[in-house]
């Protein structure tokens, strides 16, 4: 694995390295190099299985992190190629010409995060959310609670339980009793004063 990373380093700039396991390394690269890196890995290094493409929304840094995970059946190791896409201009080059299966991932990411992959087949067609007109729902700034409250209505006579409270009562009965008793006393005093 170290030899491989050294070989990649001679050709491309690696911004960050994370050794997660012996058989899994995440490399952060420049956005403009990623398609070339993936082509090189597929054609010369034997990473011919595209495991998945995923996106993570780092709203606090104003970027999306895209992760391409590739696997080599000869060495049985995985390599995650990460890159950052600007949140205000979310566009990335498509890799459907390298792996036919990639078009589905790209279509989903376009729908769920709004990251565009120009030239990817049928990338503009809705995949899961037909008729969706809100912001892409897997972005961090999409408020699920607000959406649910606006879209669905409360039913008469229906009880809801806070899952956290139920679990606390089941798993840590004594601690939960003490905690809620303290809360009750503090609140009582606060209201009193």
């Amino acid at each position: 694995m170290d030899d491989l990373i050294k070989r990649i380093e001679t050709k491309f700039t690696i911004l960050d390295k994370k050794h997660q396991r012996d058989d899994l390394v995440f490399l952060t690269m420049e956005k403009s190099h990623v398609v070339d890196v993936l082509t090189c890995l597929r054609d010369t290094e034997g990473f011919r299985h595209l495991v998945m493409i995923s996106a993570v929304d780092y709203i606090e840094y104003d970027v999306f992190q895209l992760t391409y995970l590739v696997h080599s059946y000869e060495r049985h190791v995985d390599l995650g190629i990460c890159l950052n896409v600007d949140r205000n201009n979310p566009v990335m080059d498509s890799i459907h010409h390298l792996w036919a299966g990639a078009q589905v991932y790209q279509r989903e990411i376009k729908e769920m995060y709004g990251i565009d992959f120009p030239e990817s087949p049928r990338v503009d067609e809705p995949m899961i959310l037909e008729g969706w007109d809100d912001i892409p729902p897997l972005r961090r700034d999409f408020d699920t609670k607000k959406y649910a409250e606006e879209t669905f209505f409360p039913r008469e006579g229906r009880k809801t339980h806070d899952p956290r409270k139920v679990m606390e009562e089941q798993l840590y009965p004594h601690e939960s009793k003490v905690k809620y008793e303290i809360k009750r006393l503090v609140r009582g005093n606060r209201n009193h004063s």
Binding site: L24, H49, L50, S54, V56, A100, E130, P137, Y172
Partner: protein, 402 residues
Amino acid sequence: METATIHKEQTAGKKHPPASAWDPFWSENDELDLSSGKYTKIWHGPQHPGVTGNMALELTLEGDIIRKCHTHVGYLHRGFEKLMERRKYIQCFPIVCRICVPEPDVNEYLFAAGLEELAHIEIPKRAKWIRTLMLEMVRTAFLTMVTGGQAGSFGLGTIGQWAVTHRDYMLDLFEELTGGRVYHMYILPGGVRHELPDGFGDRVEKVLQKIEKLMATIEKVMFTNAVFKARSKGLGVISPDWVEPFGITGTTARAAGIPNDVRKDNPYLIYDQLEFEPITGTESDVYERAWLRKEEVLQSIRLIRQILKKMPQKGPVREKLPNVLNWKVPSGETYVRAESGRGEMGYYMVSDGTEYPRRVHVRGASYTHAMALLEQLAVGNDVADLAGLMVSLQTCPPEIER
């Protein structure tokens, strides 16, 4: 007769495009003149007995022959990945098991394994054995049901009923062990929920014998049946050249002669201590895949026997965890994988150091099988064979629209 001739001419050479001239979107390139009156557009699903789960196929037919197929999913979307971002790690367990209904434990295992890796938790030895036992049991139940489903999709409904009954015997064992028949939530971070009940191994053995007997019957009734053979042989042939571009894994890849098995290639839990070899085929059609699945049920049965024999009889089954409701998992990212009945299943998990997961991405085998591959594979086939083809690719919609 006329349709058959057209079918033969137009699909000649399309089932096995040569590797050099391989074009991933060959079916997309055919421009169909819909105003010519030659074609009919129909919706196959989302409510249809021949569709696995809730998904729809938009078909363009010429007579009975499929000329174009587009998959439509979204009928089962519950937003699992988004829900998990708003829940504490322990609260995600009732969610992850719902990502695949017939085989929920793989999801539980993967979520727990990813979490343990991020939080640097080493689980007890006996817990590893029990987890493997659980995974193989659920794999046996799932593959038995799929074998029955494959028979049902070609009109042999009785075999489907036998298979569902035998899956139910396995569900009885799960009920005894975990309290739940379908969703178990038995595999938790740090190990498993509790110890196996007394005499559990003997009761597992009894069910295994029943399933073995069923498989012997199925071999006679289904695999030598003239109708089943005539309809499934030569249907849905996947060329080995397609395996890597489409990310095909599991039985579907092994039927094409490629011996990829996560249990063997990247051994997890205690698979490196078990003796087994991936079973491969050559023909890569629906019949071959059904046959391999039957063989894999028998392989899983052998594995369960090995596990029960070699398993340490005593020891802790669960590591002590911090208060799971205020559990801050160190930041990092990882990918864990396991072999499910459908192929490679994986979880990509990102933690940002808080009590909530930053991102959980579920990689299911049917994602590429049902979306990219099925659209290509259905073209040129008879619409009546589509149900058999879908079962053979083991499409599982909740895995696609997490």
